[in-house]
Subunit: 240 residues, 2 copies
């Protein structure tokens, strides 16, 4: 049984303010919870329903009735596993490989897809501006499909961060040079901008190179979705 205070705590973690206050976040789904349990994330408590096999080797585990699961889940159709984990401390950015930086990406689905892309392409560090959507937002976590376990994410003051880095800084712009004709180095920072406004002027000034994905045909499409563009550019970074 979930006591009232616990229910209130878990529900409050839907909001960034309370996640930061308690240093905790919620992730749902057996696979995602198991991936976090195998990572460096520290578990606070796991809740499961009887129909889901209990997750092995975990002490802080509570079996709930479906009715109780409905109360703590943020999903319309709860999938039987809710994990509460500690938000990890900030880790250093790994400059031995490409670093991805986001300038105010707002959509949770986009950030989730981008985290999944970092995982696929083996980009170890993701740096987010302070106004980028919170990576512990339930909708972001849902879209990461467990990839958050394998990507180090930092929320930093992006202009201070960029003015201090010693690797080349690449920004994705509509009016940049074709990425096909750039000789991309082995390490650097790649910046992707906000969905509507792109990279802000303040950050633009800190870019050493402006690159773009060439448009083909007589298209009037204004721009590619930021997550799709990130995928294409990461692929370019990783091409042999």
């Amino acid at each position: 049984m979930v006591v009232k205070s616990e229910l209130k705590l878990i529900k409050s973690l839907q909001q960034k303010k309370y996640r930061n206050e308690h240093g905790l976040f919620v992730i749902e789904g057996k696979k995602a919870v198991e991936e976090l349990l195998c990572s460096s994330f520290k578990v606070f408590k796991i809740y499961v329903t009887k129909d889901v096999l209990p997750i092995k080797n975990i002490k802080n585990q509570e079996v709930l009735l479906p009715k109780e699961m409905n109360q703590i889940s943020s999903l319309k159709n709860p999938n039987g596993v809710v994990g509460v984990f500690y938000i990890p401390n900030a880790a250093p950015v790994d400059f031995s490989d490409w670093v991805l930086a986001l300038d105010d990406v707002q959509d949770p689905g986009n950030l989730g897809t981008i985290i999944r892309l970092c995982d696929w392409f083996g980009i170890p560090s993701l740096v987010c501006s302070k106004n980028t959507v919170d990576c512990y937002n339930p909708k972001v976590l849902q879209a990461t499909m467990g990839s958050i376990a394998r990507v180090t994410i930092s929320y930093l003051n992006l202009d201070i961060f960029l003015s201090e880095v010693s690797v080349p800084v690449y920004g994705s712009f509509m009016e940049g040079n074709s990425v096909y004709s750039e000789e991309l180095p082995k390490t650097g920072v790649l910046i992707m901008g906000n969905e509507g406004k792109g990279i802000s002027n303040k950050i633009k000034k800190l870019c050493d190179y402006k690159i773009t994905i060439p448009r083909h045909g007589k298209s009037k499409t204004e721009s590619l979705n930021v997550a799709t563009a990130t995928g294409i550019l990461m692929n370019e970074l990783r091409r042999e």
Copy 2:
């Protein structure tokens, strides 16, 4: 004023059954409606609220009160322009360029993003299996951002279509050859599969080449999102 029968008709077009029955679909937003008006799509009627400037050179246009707009719009926050257009007749597939084919893509957001990608990369023809989500679904249209005006979409029996084509057929598989090492021709068909199941066995047998986007690092990510993977592969087709 919208008469009751008209209101009923427009609302019914949220459902595929009624779209096919009436041969009509609804698209919302000034930009998307204007793009369709500049294309070969034929307009049935446009509805606007007074705060939105009426769209020029259109006779079948009706100014509505905000209350009425709320009734016909499928959006929580209607944006003041609703267009009703005729579903065009099936057009022939253009084999003079790459053709994209989808095997049962289910998510409206994914199909919308893929249509936008066809537009960006200048892929003229998109072929969808009969079980792919309907491209006139309001959520698909919302995600296309008007790109549907510039891509020819056909719903066909995919196995019959593929068994009759004379260009090489490429399928995207987890276990395919690295796309980086393939010499891609100037024309062909690229097939992308369902979100959960990938390309079905029936269609797999009709693929001449199986390609994949290489995974980097020690990632456990199961797969890339189908729209992101489509973007990366289209970029590969268009690379000089």
